[in-house]
Amino acid sequence: MSNPREAWEVVIGLEVHVQLRTAAKVFSPAPWGFGAEPNSHIDPVSLGLPGSLPVVNLAALEQAIRLGLAVDAEIPEVCAWDRKNYFYPDNPKNYQLTQMARPVVVGGSVEIELPGASRNVMGEHRRVRLHHAHLEEDVGKLSHAAGGSLVDYNRAGVPLLEIVTEPDLRSAAEAEAFLRALHALVTQAGISDADMEKGQLRCDANVSLRRPGAPRGTRTETKNLNSISGVRAAIEAEVVRQARELEAGRPVVQETRGWNAEAGRGYVLRDKEDAQDYRYFPDPDIPPVAIDRARVERLRAGLPERPFDRQRRYLADLGLPYTAASVLVADLALALWFEEAVAAHPANPVGIANLVANDLLRELAASAQPGEAAPPAPAGLAGCKVRPAALAELVRLTDAGAISKQQAREVLAEMFLTGQAPAAIVGARGLAQNSDAGELERVVREVVADPAFAKSLAEFRAGNAKAINALKGPIMKRTQGKANPALVDEILRRVLS
């Protein structure tokens, strides 16, 4: 009866809830936001007080449409809202306004990137199909106190976009890649802040196993996963659990589960006796809404380039290495900053990329105050004293041979502190690289003639190509590190040949 675990095909579908960036709630004008006093972001509508009625927030609908456009989905002519009826203390009306029959986003797909063979190698790209996405209201927050529970309704009515994938994912790693890709899409487009720690992005995972080619197995749903590592761990644990059950001849029970992150274990939620009957029907208080095509086009035009499209452009058009490109596209502000620098000095995008992705980010990280974002979301970029044109100038100086790459890093560090122009710093520090061919040839010949380096010389002449580096050190030393390395190499090889 026991078949090897490797022969199971894992089938995963995700339902991701994303809080949309708006000032007011989705059906009420109450404000909302993280960290407020309990029950301070409330109003009759979001509380469902007697006589209150919902009114759709246009900005919430537009954010949903923008997400739909970002995933190449269909935006229908008309969308409408339904009532999902169930009783729960965090649900003020004991029904939730959602979209069952006519959601605002239909179909679409998200491009994901799987990890490559190593960090420097881009992994495979795949598209994960979406079934749909719909706009609904969030519920309040239950917390547990001694002898009872407490309810805070601040979160009730916050705009939520529920994004439902097709069961296209085949591993926990793919699920993680999907969430990262979705996170980048929504944050870069300003659709959501998607901070999982603040509950702005939450994920339910549907998992089933089957033998390849067989029909889909019974699936379980694990709810309210609120960290990417949690999603990954929960899915992996559930796969192991289901495989164990199936291999022991027991069926997988269709159930709703939770994930205990500290214990690293899933558990069955104390679910209702039978499956919930939500008695969906069209909400009579909200008429169907016709979505204006001109509005859709305006919203489309306002979307930023997608991260993977930008990455492809960097690799193909700018010739960037993958490591630098992937770091740059991970943050929209950083990517745009980089592009501004390239516009100022188009001849060497790779040089600019390396300086930005390595050195500038390092400077930003080192200077970040505790609690500020560290790369790849450099909060300090906006206030950074180095401006794109200045960094571009620095690279131009390096390309022209005025300074070495090592010197450029030192100049950048000082630009970061003082905001001075690179040329000024180079001049003040007397860093200008020595590209005087005559003087360099004199030093080269001195070193070549020096008996201290005869051994290296002999090794080089014997065929050890790397031995030439042993001669370069002293040359650099005798020029106070200012000799133009490329020129030194050229002269040295000429002298030795």
Partner: protein, 97 residues
Amino acid sequence: MPKGLDIDHVARLARLSLAPEERERYAAQLGQVLGHFAALASMGAGPADAGLRAPVADASLRADQPGQPLPPTDFLRNAPASRDGQVAVPRVVDDAS
């Protein structure tokens, strides 16, 4: 009871506790009323909507301007039980549905 009316199931869905004699009475009354609805059986499937409404233009939706929130006291004044600015309820054991 007409075929299919499980009064206990419906009462549970509706969160209504029914005393035994209530149970009997409502089941009988509902059965009688539902029997009268046989006239509906001749209808075909309905429109997806309540049928009265043309779509409204998205331009008529509300602008994203937060209004004044309701002061917590105005809300909690009507609450049967509250603590620390939150509504107090018996311990809720399972997590969200």
